[in-house]
């Protein structure tokens, strides 16, 4: 099977239709029982790392999944790529539900969904030259044709990752590259498979500030030019605000707010989103706002609070929040938030 035969015809046919659709995704992890508990047949418990999450990514779109550690954003991304198994829910990639697909059936789809990791210092094999690192995925998936054809694909992928001219970088080793260049090599190694979906997990957090923008602009260009959608996991709201089309804010395994990036940042509806935005340090010393600092840290998902899971830390919590577990409701055009106060005009 050559790449040409399987190139992303599907996404062109489904133009506008979601590339990725996640519906009511639940991912649980078992909690280890102590030996004594096991001997006493204490029932096994599990942690709901992701607890009923639905969203979609369209071709040409960059969606940012934001939240603090433990909110379930990385687990969500891993479940999308079937790196962890979902307890329930549907994951439709180009219309096909992959959540229960066998690994044999999944294999041809894998190359269309690629992951970019946080640390380009660890994701590249130090013994591989750049061209070998970029070629490796072709060999693993047994595609790319003859040696010459593969070489051509490798050079093309490097060009698309803006490692220009590719000849200059092809024979280098990772240690001869800067952090930004390494991340571009990792991106080239994904692009060589001509994926339709890129999942980027904190793609620039290990890089120096001066080169971050370059890598993000590269991703931005890839999705707007090619047949590609990007799901970016980040803790950095400023980055999400700048580069993403949509922002999904997660808290304790749930989506608390989602909508167009501009709307979520400028007109946040959920008290958690508002608090989170208020503590993001601003570049301009004159524009610092009084941070709305929440006490404590994200609770352990083993003990999820009753009602709204944010209520113990919520500055706007009312009595009813202890019992009502709010669903996502309309909070504006294409904008949703999960708070009982949304729409009551009292959320502010």
């Amino acid at each position: 099977m050559s790449v040409a035969e399987t190139s992303p015809v599907g996404s062109r046919v489904n133009a506008g239709a979601p590339l990725l659709e996640v519906e009511d995704l639940v991912v649980t992890y078992p909690v280890r029982r102590t030996l004594v508990a096991a001997a006493r047949h204490v029932p096994r418990t599990s942690v709901h790392a992701v607890d009923g999450v639905s969203f979609s990514v369209k071709t040409g779109e960059m969606v940012a999944l934001v939240g603090e550690s433990g909110c379930g954003k990385t687990t969500t991304a891993q479940a999308v790529l079937r790196l962890v198994t979902a307890q329930s829910g549907a994951i439709r990639f180009q219309g096909q539900d992959i959540s229960a697909m066998s690994s044999t059936d999944l294999r041809p789809l894998r190359r269309r969904m690629q992951m970019i990791y946080q640390d380009p210092y660890e994701s590249l094999d130090p013994r591989f030259r750049v061209r070998q690192a970029v070629e490796e995925p072709l060999l693993i998936h047994d595609i790319g044709g003859s040696k010459e054809e593969r070489h051509q694909r490798v050079m093309d992928a490097m060009r698309r990752a803006e490692l220009n001219p590719p000849e200059l970088f092809a024979d280098r080793y990772p240690h001869e590259l800067s952090g930004g260049q390494r991340q571009r090599v990792a991106i080239a190694a994904s692009l060589v498979l001509e994926p339709n979906l890129l999942v980027a997990d904190e793609p620039v957090s290990m890089l120096d500030v001066s080169v971050r923008a370059g890598v993000l602009t590269l991703l931005d260009g890839l999705r707007s030019r090619g047949d590609m959608g990007i799901l970016m996991i980040t803790h950095d709201l400023s980055t999400a605000a700048h580069f993403a089309d949509r922002i999904i804010v997660m808290y304790l395994g749930r989506i608390v707010e989602e909508g167009p990036a501009r709307e979520v940042v400028r007109n946040p509806q959920h008290p958690y989103t508002r608090a989170l935005l208020s503590v993001v340090p601003r570049r301009d010393p004159r524009e610092q706002v009084t941070p709305q600092i929440l006490v404590g840290e994200t609770p352990n998902p083993v003990n999820i609070p009753s009602g709204c899971r944010f209520h113990p830390r919520c500055p706007a919590a009312e009595d009813r929040c202890k019992t009502i577990d709010p669903a996502l409701v309309d909070a504006g055009p294409d904008h949703h938030a999960a708070c009982v106060l949304v729409g009551e005009g009292a959320a502010r």
Partner: protein
Amino acid sequence: MTEALLDVRDLHVWFDLPHGAELHAVQGVSFSLEPGDRLGLVGESGCGKTTTILAVMGLLPPSASVAGQVILNGQDIMLGAEQTVRPHRWKDIAMVFQGAMNALNPVKTVGSQIVEPMVLHEVAEGAAAKTRAGELLELVGIPAASAARFPHEFSGGMRQRAAIAMALACEPKLLLADEPTTALDVMVQAQILDLLIRLTDDLGLTMLLVTHDLPVVAQVCERAAVMYAGRIAETGPMDTLFHDPRHPYTRLLFAATPDLYGEGDVVSIPGSPPRLDHRIEGCAFRDRCDKAFERCVAETPALLEVAGGHRAACHLNDLNGEGAA
């Protein structure tokens, strides 16, 4: 003018490399802190910011050699190397590190680790030291009873608080904070920054905050020094650095930093910093600079005053003065 608490003058640090080579990590850095100041030392990895504060603390590895002066309260504490620094380390100058887990001993209770420097510097001992450890924990927002717990029982934010309590054990005058919030979530970062601001405001503590994160400095510090390739490129009030930068690196670094409500493009700086194991002729930033000219190749710009308390190391300031960067 108030007497400077810390005055670093023409600090140089070299690291020995294999095969007789040398890395000139810090190339003549000078800055001073008055009591109660919060100064940010900003720059990217390898710019020499951490090396600078390790030199102030006298914590550089044996492969490093230093030159210059580190004057604390009028006394050069670098003069006699370890002998002259040791009495001040943790007592007058304390440090908070980036990875709080690495700063804490995993097999000792948090309380005993706070007591340790007090005993060492004969600040307090026995029951008095224990009581004080509890008070310090309360001060940083941890219940005093947690003194009996071990670091692994703490969350990341709690550990960083404990590390701050430990640094405050001997009532230092100067706190050096090296990327104190880098590994933390944004809400926990806000809590720690708020704590650091409170400590400096309430206790009159002086702080040198080392970070790569310009917005964090913008929020916490009145003044900053931007470092590049072992030198200070520009220093002045944070507000001036943002609104009237006089070094292209400062301007470009701000332009590369995304802002929550920013409208303009975020643009990266092409290229990468020069290697510091070779002598750099001319301006170290010229290859990445969008305003470089002939003089930048030949002559290393000195850090010169462009306005009161605002200094920049850029030849453009000689050309036209106004808005050079």
